[in-house]
Symmetry: C3
Subunit: 270 residues, 3 copies
């Protein structure tokens, strides 16, 4: 079965000529399948950041899409390359934990079939020489088991999860977008669990956010509802708690960055 | 009728994962229509900058193209989303003035048909949840009136226009490109109106440019005709007066930026 | 014969609206041929940097691809535009030396057939008005000789080549990537010629690298083999000597940049 698209994430940087080398090999194998960029602005070597983005974006991919994700500081070592298939998607990535969010209930293969690789394989650029060509073959309908033998010991990394108690959540900032919105590892479902509501008006009354040393009093459902210049909490477009400033940058206003602690606690006696 | 392409502008930033979410939804609805980036580097929230760029680029789009343009600081409020159709193009954007240059003699609809939207609609990301899916449906041939009811009161913003008198034009810088060329809101037709010529040699003899506190003496038709290091005026590739420095940056040389005043006046007695 | 793809390089900057104007004209002529970005982050006006990147990436393009490469400081002057055809690829670029690496044994035409150009031709943007439309026509199967008359005097520039002696190579840094890897103009074949080996263990024993005032002791075949924080030499993914730091930036560690000298010499008596 042909894939509707292949999605491509890396830490190579937007507009890198490395991406063009990958695209040039891809089009030789799969000229009629679109190769769509997820982002290539992952901070260099940051496997966790890549995992978090993949987790957020994966639900939007059409069924039977193939995803190739390359943050690969140990390229050329004996680290494996894996193909991971769940109900609707197939992922190709280095076996360094990047695909941790997708390993449960998935079929995992070690990619070893050199006949699928580029004719020459460098020791520093396996996106071009192995992963993108293999993704192109899979997208074109090649059975997944062709890539190599199944494995059950794929590497997992611990994605930083918030601690959730009745009336209290401790989490952290995981990224900031171009608008300075601070995206956290606290999901809407975590808020419901800790505070029994996701109603933002109720949260404004009952819950406060500490981010670093700053206290935030209010939650709003969209930027236009908030006063200017005053940071507020909202449920962002991927279901995560975000700290925003209307037509401004929460990142600048709060001097926060990935890793900054974010604590929510209830004003009501627990 | 199918669109030859959908063109996409936003202030999300190049290589943003937000763009990928839009593309993923687009390809589900319109797998065979290209989705082409205009730019996503519009300064955050800057509706005017987006309007000016759309005005310049629109003449290059193939007839029957669809354009989706998202600079949307009031996303999630009661601001409308509109579809605007003129003779050759169809635009989708928030009803915040972004499409002002295209409203004259156009048919305008309020986009309200939720059956065209993403299954869940967030309050912070209507590009993904509404505008791109609707653009994809229109591009695939859906009659435009399907989107909602016609309206006649779309929001307009005042795009900064130059003041033109006999022998004098007052305008301003609207943007700078990567080369440091300063692009102004003064068009070739304005120059012809004020000075009765667009001949650059004649303009060099008769007209001077003040940009901020700097006086510019010469006009040249291309960079290679100009001396190095000396700012000059030219008619840029979108028919606007631009201030340039050959193999250098006028932006740096003149310390100018969007909003810096640009005045042209004739040396001849009026 | 139709091209499998057109590849596009420029110094316009990633996400520039200038690229969209080019794409819009391209799709009118060649709606079914992919237009793939090489990079648009060439330093402004830097013809040599563009040549070096084209030389590295060209072997990856599918046979019969068309390449349009625009770094064009003398746009609008009497500099020619050329089409260069070698065994497998066709290039379009300004005649300013950009295509120097591809001129040997190639057929070269001066592009003068105005019927292939945009209806109006500006004096500052020939990528949009001439080169991309001409590339689109060629990619669609138009015979190359249609573009204009053959010429034999295309402009060549001297690409900085390393000096190679027995036991010694003098070269330089030509670029840095997003990871801070320093890419040099010294190729694997140069190393074999000077030191009779490309075995990195042997090179570690017998050869030292000076980059600026820094001495580098070791060569490794991949980043994971190297100790952290210690710069080392490797053969990069395009067959060039690169100086890297494992999970760090050699560019920052060594304060090197394009033009910084890189000397290799043998510890053995010659």
């Amino acid at each position: 079965m042909k894939a509707p698209a292949v999605f491509f994430l890396s830490d190579f940087g937007a507009d890198s000529v490395y991406l063009c080398a990958c695209r040039a090999l891809f089009i030789r194998i799969s000229p009629n399948i679109p190769l769509i960029d997820i982002t290539h602005s992952i901070p260099p070597y940051n496997i966790t950041a890549a995992s978090l983005i993949l987790e957020d974006i994966a639900p939007y991919f059409p069924p039977h899409s193939v995803i190739v994700a390359v943050v690969d500081p140990t390229v050329g070592s004996n680290r494996r390359i894996i193909a991971v298939k769940n109900q609707t998607l197939t992922f190709i990535a280095p076996d360094n934990g990047l695909l941790s969010p997708f390993l449960d209930n998935a079929t995992v293969f070690s990619v070893t079939n050199t006949s699928l690789f580029n004719q020459t394989v460098s020791s520093t650029f396996h996106a071009r020489d192995i992963m993108v060509p293999v993704a192109a073959h899979i997208a074109s309908g090649m059975p997944l088991k062709t890539v190599g033998a199944p494995i059950t010991d794929a590497v997992r990394i611990a994605i930083p999860k918030p601690s959730i108690k009745k009336g209290k959540i401790k989490g952290e900032v995981i990224s900031a977008d171009r608008f300075g919105n601070l995206i956290t590892n606290i999901k809407e479902e975590n808020i419901i669990k800790a505070f029994k509501t996701n109603d933002l008006k109720k949260l404004s009354e009952e819950v406060r956010i500490y981010i670093g040393m700053n206290r935030i009093e209010k939650f709003f459902r969209c930027y236009a509802d908030a006063p200017l210049a005053q940071p507020f909490g909202t449920i962002g477009s991927f279901g995560r708690l975000e700290i925003s400033v209307r037509e401004g940058s929460a990142q600048e206003a709060l001097k926060a960055e990935p890793g900054t602690s974010v604590t929510l606690f209830s004003l009501r006696k627990q």
